[in-house]
Symmetry: C2
Subunit: 262 residues, 2 copies
DNA sequence: TGATTTTGTCTCTTACAAGAGACGAGTGTA
DNA sequence: TACACTCGTCTCTTGTAAGAGACAAAATCA
């Protein structure tokens, strides 16, 4: 319900930018930096998150002092800091699934030569948590941390397994149902896909995110029925039936291996 | 000057806990979780950071919603969340030195079999940014993210190269000068060590952190004279002169390689 | 079983942080 | 040389978030 805050960089946001809580501003700043993926001047940052300049200066100073952000050597632009890296490593350490998942993904893409990813739900959004590029001449795009509408992906269909239709509806906006090429998915079809994927224990989508790839995904379970993550392979759309089948088998095997330990 | 906030879990903190800014509370919470290295109940968390319970609940909810923290499945305890991991990866991506440094460290410990580390200053504190365990039967302790008083380490002597004595004094508390075994270092000796290390271009300390290891370190420069990081090897204290020399040579070579690109 | 602590939620007050805006010092650019 | 920027710092006001505390419900203990 109130996850709207995180989602939009500057969406509705009510009428004006009345008095906003400092912490929220900070969360917006972090999210903004995450999307820009580069250091940015404080003035621009203020514009970007739609915050008053004076406030932004104050907050950024706090964050820099704390080490969550770092000032570029030019003394103006800022980006993520070492502290966030350390906290992130703490997260990895405390999270078996992620640690082992990264490993498996790296193995998988080395063995198959295909792009491989570990995906999870991140506050209601589909997120590529770790990606390994594979060895194809054309590097199939996909960066760690990227967030994509659930209906565009095979993993999305697995991650929502077991949820009520109403819940699914709540997590998918109308925009999400519009594919990159302009086609519009029907929510009912999406829900049906999810149910089907849950039964078959894997999912394949073709030409959804772009016209040249298909996506194979298998679920990683934390408890019977509870999908914690997915592993997936992104392969050229003209990959043969046979090889696709092999890859799915391999993928399901590795995903199942990840599922073993709680 | 005001880095005191991060250092002490519950130190002086002035008389009472008058009205504290939400953001600061959050920073304390993160730091607290970083030191405990495990999920913790919200009540305990409030105690730990010395914050009112009601406030803590509010802040934690915000952070969980934002994905910076995650609620354990028991629905009470919290720990770092996926978002922090993603931000951390952004940091790595945007930071050539760290990315390549991790690589070099991993290589180095594989080649030598010794524990190897990449270290940096983190808001005035010595921090092990990345560590690779080596293959010795006794795993020499050292975890990523660990913070240690500067005077206890060889790297510390290199990282402070070029600073004025006054600056050094400001970054080193009296407690920092007391070694784990109770011996007390003289500040002047420490300052002298730093000057010497700068000239020789490497540093070796024996039996400082513990009686069984010595630490070899070499500086990574971001600009002529500016020490950005150090690489170091932690080896048994009885390692021969000859092998120590070899290792230092190797270390300096790799550190220099890291120094090349800005 | 009742006594005691802990947990999560709510309400109300006021101390104080967020924000508006002014300012002087830089930096282009016409 | 003026003009139009942006940058970093300050001051003052007021809307509001931090905090104290009360509660019911759940858990823990004896």
């Amino acid at each position: 319900m109130q996850d709207g805050n995180a989602s939009a960089v500057s969406a509705g946001e009510k009428i004006s930018g009345s008095r906003e809580k400092g912490l929220n501003r900070v969360l917006e700043i972090l999210e903004f930096l995450h999307t820009t993926q580069r250091a940015i001047g404080i003035g621009d940052l203020a514009k970007g998150v739609n915050a008053p300049r004076s406030t932004t200066y104050t907050l950024v100073r706090s964050l820099v002092d704390a080490g969550l952000l770092e000032m570029e050597s030019d003394g103006n632009r800022v980006y993520f800091g070492k502290k966030l890296y350390l906290y992130g490593m703490d997260y990895v350490r405390g999270n078996d699934l992620l640690r082992r998942g990264r490993q498996e993904v790296d193995n998988l893409s080395r063995e198959t030569g295909e792009t491989s990813e570990l995906c999870m739900l991140q506050s209601g959004r589909y997120t590529i948590v770790h990606a390994s590029p594979g060895t194809r001449p054309f590097r199939i795009s996909s960066a760690t941390g990227l967030q994509i509408p659930l209906p565009w992906t095979a993993s999305g269909r697995l991650l929502l397994a077991g949820l009520e239709k109403a819940e699914i509806e709540g997590m998918v906006s109308d925009d999400d149902l519009v594919l990159p090429d302009g086609r519009k998915l029907r929510l009912d079809d999406f829900v049906a896909d999810i149910a089907k994927a849950q039964v078959t224990g894997y999912c394949v989508t073709s030409g959804l995110v772009d016209a040249y790839t298909k996506c194979l995904a298998a679920p990683v379970l934390s408890a019977p029925g509870k999908v914690e993550a997915t592993m997936c392979l992104v392969v050229p759309i003209d990959t043969s039936e046979e090889r696709t089948g092999e890859l799915i088998g391999l993928l399901r095997d590795r995903a199942a291996r990840l599922s073993i330990a709680a």
